[in-house]
């Protein structure tokens, strides 16, 4: 059993219980895509690209009065310590689905009838909390593509390790800890678009973990805002 929090209350990577890993976001990294973003969240390195809205192929998927969203979350074979076979695993299929559902509710799909929005997420290097980092990258890419959206979404997990509620779990805390709760959040509207939960929490702990995750999300939102502002408004008037 690994001790995840030492007697000084510091975690394995030296963070306190409510500290985030460093987050870096860059917008517009892929020229071929309509919108794209790159995120470094701790050791996670993830690229998200949005294509569309564009014509639907195959045609039988088409919905006459709104757009459909197709999401592919994929981990590169070199993203993990041991080679990960490139075909989609159960986990990747699940994450593709939850990411799609998390973003569908912020998009105004009725504005683009009979079309499709393709979202590709490629994990280049993985660490704990890659689905949360992916959600942040996707929202930056969607904003970059100019698709109408209610609000930006940010993702951050909270969890439990050594009996203590902690924010933004790293890979080892995710695997060895007692619980993990990824939360995707719309900061302006104060709404949650994704909440998954794995582990056993008391009601008290759950509330504390949720508050902590939302606090972390608000901090990531500031980084995301800054990245988008830099891309679109960096050339200021002198």
């Amino acid at each position: 059993m690994i001790k995840l929090i030492d007697e000084n209350g510091l975690r394995l990577d030296g963070r306190r219980f409510d500290e985030l890993r460093p987050v870096k976001i860059e917008v517009g990294v892929i020229k071929n895509a309509n919108g794209s973003a790159y995120i470094e969240h701790g050791k996670n390195k993830i690229v998200a690209a949005v294509y569309g809205p564009r014509e639907v192929h195959p045609k039988h998927l088409l919905i006459p009065d709104r757009a459909i969203v197709r999401c592919r979350y994929h981990m590169s074979p070199f993203s993990t310590e041991e080679r990960k076979p490139p075909q989609p695993t159960r986990r990747e299929i699940e994450i593709s689905l939850v990411l799609r559902r998390a973003m569908e509710c912020v998009l105004f799909l009725e504005e683009y009838p009979r079309s499709i929005i393709d979202v590709y997420v490629e994990v280049l290097q993985s660490d704990g909390g890659s689905r949360c980092a992916s959600i942040t990258a996707i929202s930056a890419a969607l904003a970059d593509s100019g698709i109408s959206m209610k609000d930006l979404i940010v993702g951050c997990a909270s969890g439990k390790a050594d009996g203590q509620i902690i924010l933004d779990l790293s890979d080892i805390e995710d695997k060895e800890g007692e619980g993990d709760m990824p939360v995707a959040y719309m900061p302006n509207l104060d709404k949650i678009t994704l909440l998954q939960f794995d582990g056993i929490f008391s009601e008290e702990e759950f509330k504390k973990a949720l508050d902590l995750a939302i606090m972390g999300n608000k901090k990531i939102y500031e980084v995301l805002r800054k990245a988008l502002m830099e891309k679109y408004f960096k050339t200021e008037e002198k």
Binding site: N34, G35, G52, P53, R54, E55, P64, D65, F108, E111, Y112, P113, R114, S115, A143, D144, S145, G146, I147, S148, M149, K150, D151, L152, M186, P187, N188, L189, R225, L228, M229, Y232, F233, T235, E236, E237, K238
Partner: protein
Amino acid sequence: MTITRYKVLPGDYIGEAPPGPLPTNTYKIGNKLYTLKIGLAEVEDKEVKFIPLAGPYIPRINDFVVGTVVDLNAFTWDVDINSLYMAHLPSQDVFGRNFSPTSHSLSEQFKVGDMLTAKIIAYDRTRDPLLTVREPGLGKVLRGEPVVLSPSKIPRLIGKKGSMAKIIESKSKTKLIIGQNGVIIVQGPPDGIVLAIKAIHLIEEKAHVPSLTSMINELLSKGV
């Protein structure tokens, strides 16, 4: 009356919702007005105007567009107008009412890969845009260099009453054919084309800067 300009991201609160129809690219919850896209929100008294800086081209009736023929069959040309929908140009529009697929060949008029200027005559949420070339100035593009600009930045390229486009045209000695869909054809001498394309790229980069006109002037007077 002072105009306040805000740089906004999707989901930003920009004020109280005005009575009547909402400004474009905004939505409301209760009485609060929020933005849908990245852009500039101009708030004057209680009136809100929103200028998006990104977004796809959504066709509108009477829009002038520049497209590329991507396919043809016995009755229509399929034209790519840089939008989410493929546009169609019916053969009757070109050959007249006497058109017959046995006596007319569509490829005589427009081949796959040809560029054309056209106007949208019909479009709604349920059908693809329909084009016409039966107006003066419309039809095949015979010369020039195509450039693509974000469709949301086209108003900036045109400027107030066409001022920006006029500056570029006169200083680079070229002619600009500006499609609302973001495709521009630059015609003229090679040096002028290079200069005009440089100016268009500058607009793409700095569309949000208020002193864009003077920057363009500076670039154009420097020459190639």
